[in-house]
Amino acid sequence: MAITKLAFLVDKPPYKTETSRLALTHALSSQSVEIYLKDGDNVEPFLAFIGDGVLNCIKNQKALTIYDVTSLDMHIRNALLFGLNVYVCKEDIRKFGLTEDMIVMDADHPDGELKTQIVPYAEIEQAIESCDHILFF
């Protein structure tokens, strides 16, 4: 039995390119990765938003209404619901003048207990150091 830890690090803003969406969809695909692995083996991903990437975490995005595509805050809520740790860089939130009440902080679902963690960059760095592989989006 082995676990491989994967860090999905996102520093690109939402909607201008597909990059941050791909980070979220790849991270969420960890839910079905076991079909390719031996019993007991798995991957353990987490998401970390830094720099311009923190803009992906603003809540109440209207992409579905305006562009008819899923919004990235929906994907972040799903990530929390599926038990993925989501870190958002505290310094970068501050840099954009954002506050915690403007950020997706939970899954908004009765089964979702996990909360977004707004943490100093040093903590994100620590989490990255504990990972086997970094996927930088």
């Binding site: 990059t19 791909l22 969809t25 790849h26 695909s29 390719y36 692995l37 083996d41 592989h133 996927l135």
Partner: protein
């Protein structure tokens, strides 16, 4: 020898990242390593067959075919391909098409993951 997983996200035309990634895969194979090569997003363009060579644009179909013959495991994201209108019948022979979980599974037992981001 080790296993290398290369994940790529840039388009065939408009970026040289795929050119670089293929040469990296070739270097790894030359050293006897196993290579999984994943394309997602705009990089799925690499899997399209019947690319036409012009000297002003990257033409990688020939290089991909060589690497397939040498054992590089090329896999394209099925959803990303279908969303772009690249269907199974448009895909070069020797490619596999899977969901994104295949890439994570490849990362699971890879000695090194080189994730080459998109635009």
């Amino acid at each position: 020898m080790g296993k290398l997983t290369i994940g790529t996200f840039s388009s065939l035309i408009g970026s040289m990242s795929l050119d670089f990634a293929l040469r990296l895969a070739e270097a790894a194979i030359n050293k006897g390593h196993k290579v999984d090569f994943w394309v997602s997003g705009n990089a799925t363009m690499l899997s399209k067959k019947a690319q036409r060579a012009y000297r002003d644009y990257s033409f990688l179909e020939k290089k991909v075919k060589e690497l397939i013959e040498r054992g590089v495991n090329f896999t394209a994201c099925e959803a990303c391909s279908e969303a772009r209108g690249y269907h199974k019948e448009d895909t070069m022979e020797g490619w596999k098409r899977h969901n994104m979980d295949w890439y994570l599974a490849s990362c699971f037992d890879s000695d090194r993951v080189l994730h080459i981001g998109g635009e």
